[in-house]
């Protein structure tokens, strides 16, 4: 039988999760390696210029499964690949496509973490008699018995290596999920992780980090949208429309709203003495509003589909710092409940390119207060 010291490690085939597996296995824990097979990298190969042979370094490529399996063999731990392709397509890929077609800029990694990865890993772990999972995310989670009027809460905090901070993608974790998840790299830096990988003799210690969306080979999302819709036997919906200024002056026409994201500068097809940026995308009128950099800045954001971590609920205004995209330095704001299920953040300083579809994550010092999706 499985004892309670057994931990399932989510192994992506990258250096971070491999190092986690090595650390736990050498610490004497019973470790089971799991890889979620999420997307077949060869599925859209050959369509619309998508390369036949996917590059390495993506979470669902065959090379990465091979790497993860080699690490498990090296460590002498059982290793299994769990097929979650249909759920990934349903919960991550389709919403991603839908959001883009609606003129938004979705974050599939957060969708995946919120809807699939942690839920499924914990479920698979439980089904094989394992209570806890460990991942290679750079984040810290701690239990604070004094929170919530003494009822206690699990807290998610930014990691020691702020350059690798992944808390932005983890704001959707529930208390139950945090309670059963270990982030062993939270107090380490990336160079330290690589050093440990080398010490454990992991062949992939020098493997480069992956940065791109795992199911989009080459990172070209427009190419992906076209190829995916073609595979599904669907047409790219007609979303051509007008390019307008904030004052309503028509500057030209565009080929479809999914070619744009708020803050985008290149490929607008309009010449102007000063640089122009996408300010707003209206999926109904199909109008794309463009203007100067200064017009991109806004003072407020509204978010829905919220999850709270350090607090049970936002009941009164709170001073926080809000992060509105992955590479954004959290900015001071006042956060207030708005209606039943939404919040409004009012920034001290206007913020550039608040983008619907991205998530907004709210920090109190190093702690993640909670987050939601920008509307």
């Amino acid at each position: 039988m499985i004892e309670h010291t057994t931990i399932a490690v989510a192994m992506s085939g990258g250096v971070d999760s491999s190092t986690v597996a090595a650390m736990l296995a050498h610490a004497g824990d019973t470790v089971v390696g799991l890889t979620l097979q999420l997307w077949d990298q060869t599925r859209l190969a050959g369509r619309h210029g998508i390369p036949d042979a996917p590059k390495a370094g993506r979470c669902c490529s065959l090379d990465d499964v091979y790497d993860a399996r080699r690490v498990a063999e090296h460590l002498g731990i059982p290793y299994y690949v769990v097929n979650q392709q249909s759920r990934f397509e349903q919960d991550v890929v389709r919403p991603f496509v839908r959001e883009y077609l609606a003129g938004h800029t979705p974050i599939p990694c957060s969708l995946c973490n919120n809807h699939l990865k942690f839920d499924q890993l914990l479920q698979t772990a439980r089904s094989i008699g394992v209570d806890r999972i460990a991942t290679g995310h750079y984040a810290v989670n701690e239990y604070d018995a004094g929170r919530d009027s003494g009822r206690g809460r699990w807290i998610l905090k930014r990691p020691a290596d702020l350059a690798k901070d992944q808390t932005y993608f983890l704001f959707g974790l529930t208390q139950q999920q945090l309670a059963r998840t270990l982030f062993p790299l939270g107090h380490m830096t990336k160079p330290e992780v690589r050093e440990i990988a080398r010490r454990h003799g992991l062949a992939l210690a020098e493997k480069p980090d992956s940065q791109e969306i795992c199911f989009i080979p080459g990172g070209d999302y427009k190419q992906f949208l076209t190829a995916y819709l073609e595979e599904q036997g669907e047409q790219m919906p007609e979303t051509a429309g007008e390019l307008v200024t904030a004052g309503g002056i028509v500057l030209g026409r565009h080929e479809g709203i999914s070619n744009f994201t708020v803050g985008q500068r290149k490929g607008l097809g309009v010449s102007s003495p000063s640089p122009l940026y996408v300010l707003q995308i209206d999926p109904v009128s199909r109008r794309v509003t463009i203007g100067a950099d200064a017009e991109l800045a806004t003072r407020t954001l509204r978010a829905d589909r919220l999850n709270w971590i350090s607090i049970p609920e936002l009941t009164e205004p709170m001073r926080i710092r809000a992060k509105i995209r992955h590479r954004h330095e959290p900015a001071w704001a006042m956060l207030e409940p708005a209606g039943e299920r939404e919040v409004v953040a009012t920034f001290d300083e206007p913020q550039r390119a608040v983008t619907p579809g991205q998530s907004a994550v709210f920090y109190d010092g190093d702690e993640v207060v909670g987050g939601g999706w920008i509307v």
Binding site: M1, I2, V32, T35, Q37, L62, V65, R69, P78, Y80, V81, V82, N83, Q85, P95, S110, L111, N113, N114, H115, F118, D119, L122, Q123, T124, R126, S127, I128, G129, G172, L173, T174, Q176, Q177, R305, L306, N307, S359, G372, W373
Partner: protein, 389 residues
């Protein structure tokens, strides 16, 4: 931890007699069977003896036995070696991928394939094969026993249809070898393929029956090995191992082993079907469906077969659920889907395939750990998800 291996249809261990028979051919009698000298002759003798054994096993002439690398090569040879552009090919939708993928390749070379679906019981109806025959049909390929369900196909009747219509007939007998009586004359086939590692022999070696006069082109060309039907230096230790495994298989078919194995499988099956929400794949109401002795395929409602396979593995029981895709993740079995199971039930199905060396204790072990694993999996409700987004 005690380990019980119930995945014999994936592969089998070598029997000790097989290892012993192979032993001299690694270092002592290492010669090339094509060489003129005495070292070569030693090897050649061993290959010839194995050929005689396989000929006896198949009930054919020694000259009709071609050694190769295994089931995939045999299946591929039958298809690539016999079919030409413009030909029509008939096979079934429940074949091994070595047949299905080869048919797909031939599709790019002007050969059209009809894939005959099984009945819900998993049986191929010979009349469906007959109905699929066209003037340009050149080859029929049907498996002897299905790897997933163990259902034994009516190859004799299909052989008669092939003879009556003048169509070549190949049998993928990989899953039947050593489990059912073998007689290529009675089967009425022109070609038949087996693999050593499914019958307690070594991996990477197999044999093919090719009836004299069958115009099958070799897949591999080069030297004049195997009467120019398969080039490449003979895998002498492997061939010796295959011969020994076939010899032992013939004994097993006669000494009561198969009867004992059937009793063990039936006990396992009966006990597992007592668990609520289960059922047998490869069966029909009021009509016995012939199956090989070692296989049973059971669905367990309200669970993922993939999770059950992993849970059982960690409890020391090796079974299989569906087929592994390139990454090692489980895909629902194409065989069960072809039989009409929906995806959920196909994904909830587990194949138990017993070694012929299985014991009461093996069955006892599975019956001890499996019901509680099933109960545990069913008790787990999905873990709370994060916020909707």
């Amino acid at each position: 931890m005690r380990r019980t291996y119930m995945d014999a249809n994936a592969t089998t261990p070598l029997l000790p007699e097989v290892v012993e028979a192979m032993r001299p051919y690694w270092m002592e009698h290492f010669g090339n069977a094509s060489s003129i000298h005495l070292d070569g002759q030693k090897a050649h003798t061993a290959v010839d003896q194995a050929r005689d054994t396989i000929a006896e096993f198949f009930n054919c002439h020694a000259a009709e036995v071609v050694f190769n690398s295994g089931g995939t090569e045999g299946d591929n040879t039958a298809i690539f070696g016999l079919l030409h552009p413009g030909d029509h090919f008939i096979t079934t939708s429940i074949e091994h991928s070595a047949i299905l993928q080869a048919a797909k390749v031939m599709g790019q070379h002007g050969v059209e394939t009809t894939f005959v679906d099984p009945q819900p019981s998993g049986l191929i109806d010979p009349m469906d094969i007959l109905r699929a025959i066209r003037p340009e049909t050149r080859l029929i390929s049907v498996m002897l026993a299905n790897n997933e369900t163990g259902v034994r196909q009516p190859v004799e009747e299909i052989g008669k249809i092939a003879a009556d219509t003048g169509v070549f007939f190949h049998i993928d007998a990989v899953q039947g070898a050593g489990k059912v009586e073998f007689d290529v004359r009675r089967f009425g086939c022109h070609m038949l393929s087996i693999s050593a590692h499914k019958m307690f022999g070594p991996k990477g070696v197999g044999a093919m029956f090719v009836r004299r006069g069958t115009p099958v082109e070799p897949l591999l060309v080069g030297g004049s090995h195997e009467r120019r039907q398969r080039a490449g230096t003979e895998n002498v230790p492997g061939i010796v191992g295959l011969g020994k495994a076939a010899e032992l298989a013939m004994h097993s078919l006669e000494d009561g082993t198969i009867g004992k194995l059937t009793a063990l499988r039936d006990r396992l099956e009966t006990e597992l079907l007592r668990i609520p929400g289960t059922g047998l794949n490869g069966t029909e109401v009021d009509k016995p469906v012939p199956r090989v002795a070692n296989t049973t395929n059971i669905w367990f409602d309200q669970l993922e077969g993939e999770a059950l396979v992993i849970a059982l593995d960690l409890k020391g029981v090796a079974v299989s659920g569906g087929s592994a895709c390139h990454s090692g993740a489980t895909e629902p079995s194409h065989v069960l889907m072809a039989m009409g199971l929906d995806k959920t039930r196909a994904r909830a199905s587990i194949r138990f395939s017993l070694l012929k060396t299985a014991t009461d204790a093996d069955i006892g072990h599975v019956l001890k750990v499996l019901p509680e694993a099933v109960e545990h999996l069913r008790a787990i409700s999905p873990v709370e998800t994060g916020t909707l987004g």
